[in-house]
Symmetry: C2
Subunit: 168 residues, 2 copies
Amino acid sequence: MTESNWLSAEQLDDWLSVVAVVELLPGALDAQLQADAGLSHYEYFLLAQLSEAPERTLRMTELAGATNATLPRLSHVVKRLEQRGYIERFPCPSDKRATNARLTDEGWEKVVDTAPGHVGAVRRHVVDALEPAQLRALGEACAVILATLDPPAGFAARRQAPSADDAV
Amino acid sequence: MTESNWLSAEQLDDWLSVVAVVELLPGALDAQLQADAGLSHYEYFLLAQLSEAPERTLRMTELAGATNATLPRLSHVVKRLEQRGYIERFPCPSDKRATNARLTDEGWEKVVDTAPGHVGAVRRHVVDALEPAQLRALGEACAVILATLDPPAGFAARRQAPSADDAV
DNA sequence: CTCAATTAGTTGAAGCTTCAACTAAAGAGT
DNA sequence: ACTCTTTAGTTGAAGCTTCAACTAATTGAG
């Protein structure tokens, strides 16, 4: 017990703001997407990541990394999105353990239709609410924090490696 | 449909970092607290807020505001913490609709025992990971974002009003 | 003073995430 | 080849959050 190594008033103040954003921002994003598209933010983000992948296809593990999620979580979500017709799953030919997830045409349209409203929310709450320099500072601070969060084998890799050779 | 008003590459990059932190940081905080104290971050934060309140007591609505949560969520969590002996609930004498939550001695000890380890995690992932100026910038950016998140009648108020006259 | 509307809080059901357990395929070592 | 270990993914149960409905007390209008 190193006896409290407590935070200064200013540090605490900053930390409380961070905690509040982390608690509240997801709800705000969910609210807009749920109301306008019937999707959670995580579902939308997943579809959006797939939409930008080559062939609109990604292996489950890659998709988990790209969306900062655990594999079980992803598996459940993908099953639901598949039932709704936005995604297809099929076994990876080169590695029979693996599963590929591909965005369907319907899923693509969903993303295209939903994106503008979502971007609006992101701008309203974050991008346009901050001065450009503030946004940069926020992004950089978040990148530093991410580096401390024992990379769930996805984000850090994705942002540093220019491009892997994960051809299917 | 104003046709996409999309983000620049740099804005997108910053936004992706923010999203990742918002998804991953809660899990990291939960992991440390769950392992070391059997508490979720929200539960710890709630107990900590109560520990700093006068009489270690707060009305449910105030506590919901202070912890950035909805009333139903708070109600469920408080019920569980009460069953574990960390909190007591009792009706507010001045307003019979209201319920007060008070930290028990056992709850107080739990916070005291748990705080150092939690502060360590907060420092490791955020406060000490960033340069002082970066932390300030992060805190300020988060404060701006909060202002856009239709204040759930708690945080914004708490940080601006020097102190209300909510004596029981 | 009375009735409608608001505020405070609780509750149960539904939905999502986490956790542990499990199947199956790929690698590593011998 | 054969076994042991690791990797990929799925699944069901448990736990937490959200949502809608509900009770009860307070406030406000007339």
